[in-house]
Symmetry: C2
Amino acid sequence: MKNNKKNMNTDQIISTSRRTLLKGAAASLGIAAASGLSLNLLTPDSAKAMPPVLPEKWDEEIDVIVIGSGFAGLAAAIEAKQAGASVVVLEKMPVSGGNSIINGGVFAVAGSPKQEAKGIKDSPDLLLKDMLKAGLDMNHIDLVRMVAEKSKDAFEWTESLGVKYQEQITHLGGHSVPRSCSTWNGSGSAIVNKQLEKVKTLGIEVKKKTYATQIMQEPDGRVIGLKIKEGYKFPDETSGQVKYLKARKGVVLATGGFSQDIYLRSIQDPKLTSNVDSTNQPGATGEILLEALRVGATPVQISWIQLGPWTSPDEKGMGIGYVFNAMAGFVYGVMVDPATGKRFINELADRKIRADAIIKTGHPAVTLADSQGVKQVPILDKILAKGVAKKFDTLDELAAAYNIPEKTLKETVSNWNTYLKQGKDAEFDRYMQTDSKPIAVPPFYACRAWPKVHHTMGGIQINTKAQVIGLDRKPIPGLYAAGEIAGGIHGAVRLGSCAVVDCIVFGRIAGQQIAV
Amino acid sequence: MKNNKKNMNTDQIISTSRRTLLKGAAASLGIAAASGLSLNLLTPDSAKAMPPVLPEKWDEEIDVIVIGSGFAGLAAAIEAKQAGASVVVLEKMPVSGGNSIINGGVFAVAGSPKQEAKGIKDSPDLLLKDMLKAGLDMNHIDLVRMVAEKSKDAFEWTESLGVKYQEQITHLGGHSVPRSCSTWNGSGSAIVNKQLEKVKTLGIEVKKKTYATQIMQEPDGRVIGLKIKEGYKFPDETSGQVKYLKARKGVVLATGGFSQDIYLRSIQDPKLTSNVDSTNQPGATGEILLEALRVGATPVQISWIQLGPWTSPDEKGMGIGYVFNAMAGFVYGVMVDPATGKRFINELADRKIRADAIIKTGHPAVTLADSQGVKQVPILDKILAKGVAKKFDTLDELAAAYNIPEKTLKETVSNWNTYLKQGKDAEFDRYMQTDSKPIAVPPFYACRAWPKVHHTMGGIQINTKAQVIGLDRKPIPGLYAAGEIAGGIHGAVRLGSCAVVDCIVFGRIAGQQIAV
């Protein structure tokens, strides 16, 4: 987020209103950072061992409260409302959309018409298999199967809201086949904005700057409401006005992950200190995850935290270099270790394998592609203008710029071109795109790659009804969760483009189930 | 445990009284299993969202209650008593010692006189480095450093209790140098029994068949006692008489891990169903871990569950074949994939690397050694008599017995012998023992290896004072933890012989701190 000003070039990625507001947030963060204030504050109320005393009077009453206004929260709100419940959505940040609105907007769909048109054979079973492989079979099988089986349905649901997708299908790392559909603007904002339109049409209020600080329970454990703060100014814990909201049917937790919660993530993986950057928006902190644990939700695989392998060390946060790496370097080009000039990993392996491999070299990798390989990069000019990717007339110049041994680099490219001709990557058995061409036509383009904290696979346990499972193995009455806060769907490693589908599938389920 | 009857041969590993009692426990388990009853029952009280109402009258009062009578619990009890506190130890099983008493009794010591005598250079820093490497740097650095720095002190403390160790030092997988000291009888019982003697001398009561079902707190969160059941008959949740024990200074949780808790372990790693065996005693279940979470302890890395790579698929539980694999096959011999006759992993890599590598082959591996390589296996005759390891006059016979291609097997052995001569393992860079000899002198011995659930690295968060850390990042007043229930010490992977030292170091700290 510190680099938000630079990100203002990427119109296609971040919508203007969001951008402007985030700029304000970034400024206040800057102040916070300068004053040494931690950005990952806990709800002070979590400190109490005893549950909160129920209020004598609720300030407001409604059927369903959804916390979080990303893909999952908005899907839950829409479904619950359509099922007849009254609904409110709470968002602690000054803008709607959470991390979803700065998400890359890529949706894994198994068996889409787009695939059929290109003769790509796919199925829910193959998507399931890919997710289990990446997840090291740590996935909760009933949950991941639900995502795989409903991917097409969830995709069509977003289309029914008016979301438009690009024609191309991308082949992301860890997927057996190309199956990932990008929104028209290469951003999750294309989905979130249509969800927000629907939310508005349905008359659902989204209360921004509204921070849930406590889950309120009946003595038998049933969740019946929230203590909140209205007018909350993230991350100032002293800001806001306390209110109590009663939820007649219950609460949906759709608060996302904790990639920006440095304390929480570094307890789970001590390597992930403040020295490691994150791709997430600053509000991706874990206070509601902790609050859910306080009321007895079962923790699942919280220590599995994903680093994105495609980010650039030459910009802050998610940035835009990842677009080059994910859509050109890894797919139509090669990635080399600049110290050797050689490839060192299957550029389409899953995120963990690639991130671990890059980190193991001890320095950023370099991806490269030629003029033919960059054709599908939607914002190439912006990436070049920002200086994150660079253009070269020859491979020699490219090698010199990154201090790569020229001879081995050229051998690496020549080998790859031979593999392409032979239809088989003799080194790493990487999948070859049907439209791949040899890396041969100048100019050549290159970008560095270095991992950043991107996704928290773990969270609280849910079942296939999106009910939160307590330490007693039973659903906590009135408590539902969907999206990144729920653990177990992705197991050890989440595949790219499987977050959006997870959020939409389980967000919708949560909304349908809570309204019953 | 189901194999307990067979284990009766292994006098050196399990003491007689323990064995007899466990046999009874195994019998009741058999009944439970036959009736379809789950062995990993939860405390029903964990179901309650609201904390227990404090009793009007406590049945007993004492300064310190320790739950669990393994290495950590007994160390805590001894230290607390010596510091002037009154202490009671609760043990839910009908015998003392928990999993520690069937532990292999191997103690990692950095910089011991035994090492100096053999010219082995070691240091706390090197032990720390090894633990961090195996832990994938996920270890809580302050905790693991404490273990490394106090390993020698903790070892000498056990010697001061009268524990005797063998002269040899073993080189276990993942350790840079030989540093692991085995108790005289090759079992943790040698340590536990001396701890129990000390406990008796000090006048500390160990209440067996006493099951802690609830942690009782003051409204401000301070832990002030326990709800317990006396006369509890594991695993019958309906058995026992409810009582309330007040703990004036607090409670030490030293209840071990949850390797036998099939529900809890399979939530964290769904591969680890009832189809996967465990090396642990049947009481290694997670109800106190869950109870600690209910009162607000922070979960740490609970999904990192270790499989032991050295167990045999030809016997139940820990068995005795592991002794052959760990002390001969992996150290003085080689391990091969029977399908190829070739080595496939550094036999001294850490437990995870080896277990994963064996599982990846899809079938049990075979380790082998010659007559010189088995000299340090203390119970070779018993392992052979049980049929878990086998003896052969020639490598051809050995190959035929396990259906290994003879030619490649002999090449593998010949290659190893060449590496030994050259002082360098050209394939996997395995450390070579100073007293290693070529695999050449018949008879030859072999044993199969297949992983079983062995240790749960994760648990609840503690600090260097063994205080349990709550979700609010602060110590929960009056609550301490030590041993396997505490998470973060070993990170992703625990090295062999680092459990005993962890338990003794943090058990002692917990006892010292709580008595203050």
